[in-house]
Symmetry: C2
Subunit: 246 residues, 2 copies
Amino acid sequence: MTNTLDRASPVPLYFQLKQIIIEKIEHNEWDPGQPIPSEQELQDTYGLSRTTVRQALSELVIEGRLVRQRGRGTFIVQNKLTHTPQKPQGLVRLMIDRGLRPGWRVLSLEWTTPPYEVQHLLQIEPDTQALYIRRLRLASDQPIGYHQVWLPPGIAGQINHDALQEGDSLAYLRHLPAVARGHTIRTIEAIAAEAAEAELLGISEGEPLLLIQRLLCDSDGIPIELMEALYCGNQFKYQIILPNAE
Amino acid sequence: MTNTLDRASPVPLYFQLKQIIIEKIEHNEWDPGQPIPSEQELQDTYGLSRTTVRQALSELVIEGRLVRQRGRGTFIVQNKLTHTPQKPQGLVRLMIDRGLRPGWRVLSLEWTTPPYEVQHLLQIEPDTQALYIRRLRLASDQPIGYHQVWLPPGIAGQINHDALQEGDSLAYLRHLPAVARGHTIRTIEAIAAEAAEAELLGISEGEPLLLIQRLLCDSDGIPIELMEALYCGNQFKYQIILPNAE
């Protein structure tokens, strides 16, 4: 593939420009998350009309290769972090592969009377306290997720406190034999960020968040942990692979 | 449980009012999605101070039983439709259980050159057309989801056209033996509704949507269907149950 236009070709010029841009993205000449040259620069570089440049860029936006940000320009789309919960360490490895440093910041750890829904899911009595832990998930010190967990009293005494700052979201419980058996129920919702959540994640109020609730149960179906994690919608997606027969 | 306050009881009055409201919700005297009486009405009915009524309502909001809508009042929280894709017909049955009539409205069905990402996922050549179907998923004639699917040429000729208007989202393909084997890759994202999507779903631009992409493959890993479905974040959640060992 060349980096120049072939004006003798029957292939329309806007289409040739599209191919040049796609090449630059695929060969990492232009990086995800970075702006592309302005329309004027593209017109000058390739000797094209404004209409032709615009048609190429518009199609690349529709095709999901580029994204326009009002008042800021046109950017190469940054692929979202895709977490596959069936792969332990999946998100940790993904961050390392992207040159990001995975980490956690523990915000608080306290005994609390959980909200009604949490009591109900953890099958604990209304007057029983649970250990409540709040953590930010970090990618090179930037928060990308906000995790809250509630642990019933029998489990709370057995957690690995050091592992709250490292590894994946289950690292602090993985030494418990009960965690390796049993099953996990996950529910996934799209919600709008409230003010406090937006502040924790460094985004604007109202932005879409993925809310992932995880109820981890032992082989008798007794709840071990309830997690509620919020991830920025524009940075993160969730992936599940299942056999069709199921 | 009584429907009146016991002023001789050591249980605080705000807590007694909370219990009365919870009873009314759980016994379906007050229905999900409906407003509760105003603060003034609750004060008058139970002979309580404004502070006491407010404390009860605030805690019920925090506990996720009630939701305040600015300028409209306080409403009983409507549980989201929880779809478990591992259960075929799951969402259809759930709607019927709630007294909703499940259905579909086909918006368009045409051959098209799919966007780059779709070509890539379906493993088809850039100049190959795909059958592109757009449908609204209805609950008693109200749209709750917007489905787009792209089908490669080999599959497009085999679909059950009648079943596009009934059953679950796979009803139109389920007669194909390849669908029963193989595997499905689902990715789940939270995005903000764009204007056109908001209009189709009868919501406001910017509201959170759950975007579910489903790539259905046969037992050789050959793609059969790519689906992209959008569901209103405040009506729908997704559930996945997996063994911990996985």
